[in-house]
């Protein structure tokens, strides 16, 4: 026992010494080159969105690799951190990157509530520029925006613009909403209902379910007989669970999907109801079957760089890619000049027109993206696989969904309302 303890202590000491030496060697190596630009990258590598976070990192890395790791003659040094979709964890991870690792620019986080918390934190760090990851809550940039927080992706509400009209075109005059109970689905439901209610649609019942819920029996029992369709804004496992249980309960209403409801992983689930998903309409910033050459090139590049990734990049990969590309394009346009509290860089970001695989993006006065939304419909190809066909592409969607800012209210459980 004594001997083994001694051995353990010695081994630990040896490991520490080796680690210290190698860390020293790294530091020397870094000094030898031109000063690198340090970019912090935060995504959820734990918790409910771990798979999405991993794909988000792939997207961000793709943008770096496309520049061979160099921007404006400076080496790009990515410092990664992880959170688990909780705002306090995201702020702690961000604070470490900004104050301890001293990153110049911060990219992240992934999830809605995290985005609001990181934006609040960014106000206390005026010398660092914060660029969003893929968080899509409206309040992040709409309510008390931060002068150094930029979001080059459209938010959850913008992603659903046009779905209301598409639903009415399909003849759905009355719809029940089933959505998870937090900021991002509020935005999604608002994006859908704002247009839908205005054009005369009715939403008699809204069911808010907890994130990560397993049992939807009580919700399914509340589906009124006379609604024409269900608007289901659930993500990942929640969506699969709901669809399975709805099928088992004998439900036959058509579905209107949220942006992360009818993604590839859900279309490929094995269930009898799978076929009944055909005809499901949804809104999203990404459409797998979009045939513009820029998007096809992006997909090919993703596949080449990440053989272990998804068959097609997910929403998170695209959105992280867009935000990281904006970060680097901005640096390029100011020749890597971050002096003067990064003022020049921020001016460049605010004014630039970003070329993305899904069209051009511009920022509004709150540093929030104005961009493209796709309306998609699930169809079956010749081999029997389901995929999302592009029904309509809407450009220049702004954050207030076309309404004057004074009339626009941030989405919540009760807003908008048209029973």
């Amino acid at each position: 026992m004594e001997l083994s303890k001694k051995t353990v202590v010695r081994t630990l000491a040896a490991v520490l010494v080796v680690a210290a030496i190698s860390a020293g060697a790294f530091a020397v190596g870094a000094f030898a080159q031109a000063p690198p630009v340090k970019i912090g990258l935060l995504a959820t590598l734990e918790g409910p969105f771990a798979a999405g976070g991993q794909d988000g990192i792939r997207g961000a890395e793709l943008a770096v690799r496309q520049r061979n790791g160099v921007v404006a003659g400076r080496k790009i040094e990515l410092v990664k951190a992880s959170s688990d979709a909780k705002p306090d964890v995201a702020v702690n991870a961000t604070r470490k990157l900004v104050e301890q690792d001293k990153v110049d620019i911060m990219v992240g986080p992934l999830s809605g509530s995290e985005g609001i918390a990181v934006k609040e934190y960014s106000k206390t760090q005026p010398n660092t520029t914060f660029i969003n990851g893929s968080s899509g809550a409206q309040a992040t940039t709409l309510v008390s925006p931060s002068p150094n927080f930029f979001r080059f992706n459209t938010d959850g509400g913008q992603w659903m613009v046009g779905v209301g009209k598409a639903a009415l075109d399909k003849g759905y005059k009355k719809v029940m909403v089933i959505a998870e109970d937090y900021a991002f689905p509020y935005s999604q439901v608002q994006g859908f209902m704002t247009e839908y209610c205005k054009l005369g649609g009715k939403v008699p019942v809204k069911a808010w379910v907890p994130l990560g819920g397993k049992d939807y029996a009580s919700v399914i029992a509340r589906v009124p007989k006379d609604v024409d369709a269900l608007a289901v804004v659930l993500g990942g496992a929640d969506a699969v669970n709901f669809l399975n249980q709805y099928e088992q309960a004998g439900g036959d209403k058509p579905i209107i999907g949220g942006s992360i409801t009818v993604s590839q992983d859900i279309l490929n689930y094995k269930g009898k109801r799978r076929d009944s998903l055909v005809g499901t309409i949804a809104g999203s910033p990404i459409a797998d079957a979009y045939d513009a050459p820029e998007f096809k090139a992006f997909v090919a590049d993703y596949k080449k760089n990440f053989p272990d990734g998804y068959p097609s990049p997910s929403l998170f990969a695209l959105v992280y890619y867009i935000n990281m590309k904006a970060t680097l394009d901005g640096l390029d346009s100011v020749k890597g000049d971050l002096s003067g509290g990064q003022k020049k860089y921020r001016d460049a970001l605010s004014k630039m027109t970003l070329k993305t695989p899904v069209g051009d993006v511009k920022l509004d006065a709150n540093r929030q993206a104005i961009g493209t939304t796709f309306i998609t419909e699930v169809v079956k190809d010749a081999q029997g696989n389901l995929y999302n066909k592009v029904l309509r592409k809407i450009d220049n969607v702004n954050q207030t969904l076309g309404l004057p800012p004074a009339e626009f209210k941030v989405g919540s459980r009760d807003e908008p309302n048209c029973p």
């Binding site: 992880s82 909780k86 705002p87 702690n92 604070r95 470490k96 609040e120 937090y182």
Partner: protein, 375 residues
């Protein structure tokens, strides 16, 4: 019966002398011995050095290390201290300590000010804090009252059940707890021209309460109540036969631990600036247990040592190893500490001090260990 007599009877002096302890048979209760002076050496050089370091720390540490490492460790350590007190000295492992801390945090947000409209009452901060701590202490006493009749694994199960129930309550209740979003922007007040959430003031605030909690627990353990509690831990039936109300002592221990956890909870809520269902979820309930075990439950200082290691790992493990594998490092360090030391970091510390002393054979450490583990 006086505390000193009890300590003799239960043989739990702070420091047993080597040869005597070795000669005594290992058993739950040993022959009574004459009482010793209460404080043998209450203040040592080490204490002064540590205190000087803690007070001087923010002057040479970066704001990041002051706030995120220092202050967070102190706040978490205070919550873990409540578990060390309950588990190490009361023999009751409660997984609901973070729940109690969370109740205090929620109450401060609900009675004080938070970003949520219509939920917060907007009362003055000191009133909200007092109400929060009082309600959390009451809730802790209630949890204790529910669980004291159980032992060991059943205590863990019932407190876990209470913790999970509270998690789902705050997750699904919108009228009071604001559901998934929780209470945002719960900040400490600006007082005497100082914003108490700035790194240095907040560090000293946390340090003050951590020291207060630590000294309170150290004092309490030497009081008649603390001695009786340790007696109940070692042999409840005997204590009952001697006329002690075992249930009352245990419930009181829960309430005292609850008050400590509540102070820690208010600090932790201010530290994060928010309290959400995630703050009282299962992962945090277990993290508090990990912190307490990691540091060692033999002495109140273990909770703070564990918290420091825990916070350092949470922050820097990702730099040691890339991407999503960093949880492996955290798990491995926990495993190594728990596998190679019976009593967390404190166990290593004791073993080290024994190594450094020239004494051979029966040592302070081995006798202390026998005293503690041969229950």
């Amino acid at each position: 019966m006086s505390a000193a007599n009890w300590r003799g009877a239960m043989n739990v002096q702070p420091r047993a002398q080597g040869a005597n302890a070795a000669a005594a048979p290992a058993g739950a209760v040993r022959a009574p011995r004459p009482a010793r002076p209460r404080f043998e050496n209450p203040l040592r050089l080490l204490h002064l050095v540590v205190l000087a370091f803690l007070i001087g720390y923010p002057w040479f540490a970066t704001p990041f290390f002051t706030y995120q490492i220092g202050a967070q460790s102190l706040a978490l350590g205070l919550i873990a201290l409540s578990l060390t007190f309950l588990g190490g000295y009361g023999g009751m492992i409660s997984l609901a300590q973070m729940t109690v801390a969370g109740i205090a945090g929620y109450m401060v947000a609900i009675f004080g000010t938070a970003a949520t409209d219509g939920v917060s009452l907007g009362w003055p901060w000191w009133l909200a804090v007092l109400i929060g701590i009082a309600l959390a202490t009451g809730a802790a006493a209630f949890i204790g009252w529910l669980s004291v009749r159980t032992e060991g694994i059943y205590t863990i199960m019932i407190t876990l059940a209470i913790g999970v129930a509270f998690y789902y309550l705050v997750l699904q209740n919108y009228a009071v707890f604001n559901g998934f979003q929780g209470e945002q922007k719960v900040f400490p007040p600006t007082l005497a021209g100082i914003y108490w959430r700035d790194p240095m003031p907040f560090y000293y605030l946390a340090l003050f309460w951590a020291l207060a909690g630590y000294l309170f627990v150290v004092y309490l353990l030497r009081s008649p109540f603390g001695i009786a509690l340790q007696g109940i831990r070692d042999n409840p039936r005997r204590m009952h036969a001697l006329g002690f109300n075992v249930t009352a002592h245990r419930v009181t221990a829960y309430a005292v631990a609850g008050a400590i956890a509540a102070v820690g909870g208010v600090l932790f809520t201010w530290y994060n600036g928010l309290v959400t269902p995630g703050s009282v979820g299962t992962s945090w309930l277990i993290n508090i247990l990990i912190i307490a075990v990691l540091g060692g439950m033999r002495h109140p200082v273990g909770a703070f040592l564990g918290a420091i290691v825990f916070v350092l790992l949470q922050n820097f493990a990702i730099d040691v190893i890339d991407r999503e594998r960093f949880n492996l490092v955290i798990g491995a360090v926990f495993l190594v500490i728990v596998l190679f030391s019976q009593d967390g970091l404190l166990g290593w510390w004791s073993a080290l001090s024994v190594r450094l002393s020239t004494q051979r054979g029966e040592t302070r450490w081995s006798s202390a260990r026998r005293r503690l583990y041969a229950r």
